[in-house]
Symmetry: C2
Subunit: 278 residues, 2 copies
């Protein structure tokens, strides 16, 4: 039996997966891109040794990343997706009829190509006429916009290496400036179990820039640490409230989950005071 | 570097952990008992190749197993803990002043001994004068009681092998009969990510016996599948309502988490109709 051992130097548990087939193995200018097949999870996309998605469970992450801000916003028309070269976040954004334009900014074209070839059910939104793909640094893209964007979604690799530029105060400032007055922003912010300090740091940095910052979670099984956090920010509106009815087709996100996924107030307060004791 | 590779034949991901020291390795009449030390998680208890607890994160599971029913019940005095030979569940039960008696029923005395020796912070409640330890099959214990128990808590190994007797309709019937009219019951019921069918089956079987059955979850990082479920049942009272104030010392459970941990109604309905699509 062939096995793939994940190479996440920041996780105290190492995950490994049975490999029934190696479908793709290449090195782009940015990272090593591997696609394998696993009996349970189906095809798996692995970047620099870390699992980014599996066919079977990718929707947990993509739905939870995208639909919370998309329902908190009153009328999202122009959306920027940074990273997420697989196309999963773009696919979810396009489920919303209000959307007129998606700027899909992925630094590594090879990830887009691999996804189109091996993950058609994930990449399926990329050819939609509303989508404009740009292979460039997302931090550069938002710098040059001026106030017309409704929502910015960051779907990056872990907060190390070249993704670091997407987690700086400077970047958050550019994001804020590129958006309308009702603009909203969401980004992954690692695991509450393993990386509580990173979660706090991302929240603190966002608060330097945005008047409304919040935190919600989902339990993901193929990302080490599992209790995954999403840091969301807004220029005006509270993010816990839904401003549009839930009527899209999803597997795990729903109006019920929107209400339930945010960290409750007292727990949030404890977290930010570094008093959650683990 | 020494590594421990978990042997869970039902998990499609294999977990492995660095081992800085092997502290104990023995075979009881029931299972293989191993204790190792890991740089991140501290000491780890491993039964038949599956991680049961780590010093660092055991409280997530123990608090969530115990405190939901303990707060839903108006006045729990007599509590039965079946399994959980490490003592973690007993420790949590004893945090409640109302408790007068804990029957601690563990089939394998060797687990109790290993925990006393290697996990004093987990086993610490075992010497409390309110605790009566009996090394026997929990299913046998509840058969012989007659209606004086307030709460029954099952903290077993996975629903395979000798723990199977704790997941039968016959056992649930005995549990119901051993309790007062306000009696409540809780048991682990595996992972929503990996073992949805088992979750449904446990719920369905409990519903054959109890008028009130519910489901809540927590995200645990050292149990494969992570999105861990707890199946709770009651002879009378709804389980989502707290009937006693939250005033004990906990790290993750709280009155807020009590409200948030239950599966929301529409999602629960979808699950039970086998329409959750993963």
């Amino acid at each position: 039996m062939i096995k793939f051992f994940e190479k996440d130097p920041y996780a105290p548990i190492q995950y490994s997966y049975e490999v029934s087939k190696i479908l793709h193995s290449a090195k782009s200018d940015f990272q090593e891109i591997i696609v394998v097949e696993n009996p349970h999870f189906g095809k798996m996309l692995i970047l620099d040794g870390v699992v980014q998605l599996t066919e079977r469970d990718e929707f947990f992450y993509h739905e939870m990343l995208v639909h919370v801000v998309m329902h908190a916003h009153p009328n999202p028309k122009k959306v920027v997706v940074i990273g997420g070269g697989d196309g999963g976040a773009v696919r979810e954004v396009l489920k919303h009829d209000s959307v007129e334009k998606v700027y899909f900014i992925e630094i590594d074209e090879e990830v887009i190509n691999a996804s189109k070839k091996f993950f058609p059910s994930v990449a399926c939104g990329m050819n939609d006429s509303r989508v404009e793909i740009k292979c460039m640094d997302g931090a550069e893209f938002v710098k040059d916009r001026d106030g017309d964007i409704d929502i910015v979604i960051v779907d990056s690799t872990d907060i190390i290496g070249f993704a670091k530029s997407l987690f700086t105060v400077e970047f958050f400032k550019s994001v804020k400036d590129c958006m309308t007055d009702e603009g909203m922003f969401v980004s992954l912010s690692e695991s509450l179990h393993f990386h509580k300090d990173i979660v706090i740091e991302v929240q603190e940095e966002m608060k330097l820039i945005f008047p409304v910052v919040d935190l919600y979670t989902a339990c993901l099984t193929t990302y080490a640490g599992n209790w995954w956090t999403f840091s969301a920010a807004s220029k005006k509106h509270d993010l816990r409230e839904m401003r549009r009815p839930y009527k899209i087709d999803t597997k795990v996100y729903s109006d019920e989950i929107h209400q339930q996924c945010f960290m409750p107030p007292k727990m949030y307060d404890k977290l930010m005071k570094r008093k959650l004791d683990w």
